[in-house]
């Protein structure tokens, strides 16, 4: 342990101190939620190990399901927290300096939760590790995304080590490198969808840029949630300044997002291009898009921020919770909507109607693993808080 402490400064802790916490109602609630989510994750993994991909409701026509959406949810969160963390230690904005340590820890644990999800979605994760190196598919966005995310995690960990050592020069170097690699990885994740010529609703430049934009938005939502929980809504002054600034940035980003979304749908529907216009109209009629993405993810947070003139930090913590529900629906919808239009429009068996729209609802195992991974995030973040001194850093 002393050897590790020489590399990365840690608080003094024992196993007992790691597992004890103040028994406030909120802490107890979070404890129960975390245990329940971890149990769900364990059960889901058990189902997967017994039944393989049959435990999932993915099909030939809809091969990507909730687990892909949750993987994206976590890695988007990670990239967003990395961007927020970089505002202070990479770009030198003083108001955000105090947030860097917590945000970078958050970015590390969210991506680990994402990797935990994708490990049970990819059919052969060990084969992936081997042939990703031995036989790299350089024309594949998934190869670039996966490889760059691996590098990104490495840089984030190194940056975090330097932050904990208060070595700001090296933290800045690795932070900037990690940020650039993270942005490249994340836009490649958008490219995974954007490169799909077969899926014209997703094909194009929109997703690679949209992913970066929504990552920043997600990072700000999560920063509010993390600090709201940390300080029980009684924010200290050095944090307040940063949070006020983030609220203004968030309102601007949400306005840009709504502008982007509006034009995405206008251009998709205009002209009535088969396969694109009808799919866009189908999406516009779905509750997940209207109530999830638009209302929770964009309109409610934006309206609240606008009406309160970016001054109600406590309210924004609750707003951010609603916003994160919206972000979840954005991830789920982008995966589902990409596949909602059948590629094969003729009927292939008798007594069947020609396919119209692909239906999908996640199985219990998918829900357990996907949402259970939030428990992994909670657990790792809790241990991170216990083990590392995340306060200060305004140097």
């Amino acid at each position: 342990m002393n050897f590790i402490k020489k590399i990365i400064p840690m608080k003094d802790f024992t196993l007992k101190s790691l597992l004890t916490f103040e028994k406030t109602p909120l802490n107890m609630f979070m404890f129960i939620v975390t245990i329940a989510l971890l149990a769900a994750f364990g059960w889901g993994v058990g189902q997967y190990l017994v039944h393989s991909h049959h435990a999932y409701n993915v099909t030939r026509e809809h091969p990507w399901g909730l687990l892909i959406a949750m993987y994206i949810f976590f890695v988007v969160s990670s990239t967003g927290l990395c961007i927020v963390g970089s505002l202070g230690d990479v770009f030198g904005f003083k108001d955000y300096m105090a947030m860097s340590k917590r945000a970078i820890l958050g970015s590390i644990v969210t991506i680990l939760a994402g990797f935990a999800v994708i490990a049970f979605e990819i059919g052969h994760p060990v084969t992936m590790l081997i042939y990703n190196v031995l036989s790299p598919g350089l024309t594949s966005a998934i190869w670039w995304m996966g490889t760059l995310y691996g590098l990104y995690l490495t840089f984030m960990i190194i940056e975090f080590i330097f932050l904990m050592r208060n070595d700001m020069k090296n933290a800045r170097i690795f932070g900037l490198t990690g940020l650039l690699v993270g942005l490249a990885a994340h836009s490649n994740l958008g490219g995974v969808f954007g490169f799909l010529n077969a899926r014209i609703i997703s094909n194009g430049v929109f997703y690679p840029t949209y992913f970066i934009l929504t990552a920043f938005i997600t990072g700000i939502y999560l920063t509010y949630l993390m600090y709201g929980f940390r300080y029980k809504l009684q924010f200290p002054e050095e944090i307040k300044k940063g949070l006020y600034g983030l609220a203004k940035i968030q309102a601007l980003l949400l306005a840009i997002l709504m502008f982007f979304e509006t034009w995405k749908f206008l251009t998709a529907i205009y002209g009535g291009m088969p396969g694109r216009a009808d799919t866009a109209e189908h999406i516009l009629h779905s509750g997940a898009f209207l109530y999830g993405e638009v209302l929770c993810g964009m309109l409610i947070p934006f309206t609240i921020m606008l009406l309160t003139k970016w001054q109600s930090l406590k309210l924004y913590v609750f707003t951010s919770f609603i916003g994160m529900i919206g972000i979840y629906f954005m991830r789920y919808d982008l995966v589902h909507d990409t596949q909602v239009k059948p590629l094969q429009m003729m009927k292939t068996t008798e007594y069947q109607l020609p396919p119209e729209w692909i239906e999908y609802f996640p199985s219990a195992a998918e829900i357990a693993i996907g949402f259970g991974a939030i428990g992994i995030f909670f657990m790792l973040y809790y241990f991170g808080q216990k083990m590392f001194d995340l306060e200060g850093g305004d140097h």
């Binding site: 993915v58 091969p63 059919g123 998934i142 190869w143 995974v192 990409t338 429009m345 020609p354």
Partner: protein, 187 residues
């Protein structure tokens, strides 16, 4: 070395599905409606009873198009999908990680998961079975009662398929996507 392709005189198709059965039998494809390498698509006739347009109820046999520029090959992160020496798009099951990206990228819905190997499977033009035994036809072609399918080497000007493509009008599916399919539908 050849460049294999297939011409389909699809208007002759009677939807007997013998090709689907022969494919499953010859290549050991799993049972189940979702597990198929080839299929026959059908339209319901246009119009309302009794004024039905019977001619509109065409059948369209289909399968992997063995594209010259296959999106499934481009997106594969481990090169599990590859072109063999005869231009046939194949899957190396040892390298497949089941990320399912190819299933999403294929515009023809030609790929499915083989539950025995938990890897993605697809039509191979019977490369592992009939062609490996030295035969020159695929199972689907061999069994077709109305001779819809003609399989052969597109680079051989003397082959039957080259002759057909020289003398008959034909089209390819979703050719606007730039995939350069090697399945040709004769009109």
């Amino acid at each position: 070395m050849a460049r294999y392709g297939m011409a389909l005189d699809y208007k002759n198709c009677i939807n007997c599905k013998a090709c689907e059965v022969a494919c499953k039998e010859e290549n050991g494809v799993e049972l189940g409606a979702e597990k198929h390498r080839i299929w026959v698509g059908g339209n319901n006739p246009d119009g309302q009873w009794p004024l039905l347009d019977i001619a509109s109820a065409a059948f369209l046999p289909s399968q992997c198009q063995h594209c010259d520029d296959a999106p499934c090959q481009e997106v594969c992160p481990t090169h599990a999908t590859y072109y063999d020496e005869n231009g046939v798009v194949r899957v190396d099951a040892d390298k497949c990680i089941l990320c399912s990206y190819c299933m999403n990228a294929c515009p023809y819905d030609a790929r499915y998961v083989d539950d025995r190997t938990m890897t993605v499977d697809k039509c191979t033009f019977c490369s592992d079975t009939r062609l490996a035994r030295g035969e020159t036809t695929t199972a689907c072609q061999n069994t077709c009662p109305t001779k819809v399918r003609t399989f052969g080497d597109l680079d051989d000007p003397e082959s039957e398929i080259s002759e057909l493509l020289r003398t008959r009008e034909h089209f390819s599916l979703k050719s606007h996507l730039g995939t350069n399919p090697k399945l040709f539908y004769l009109t």
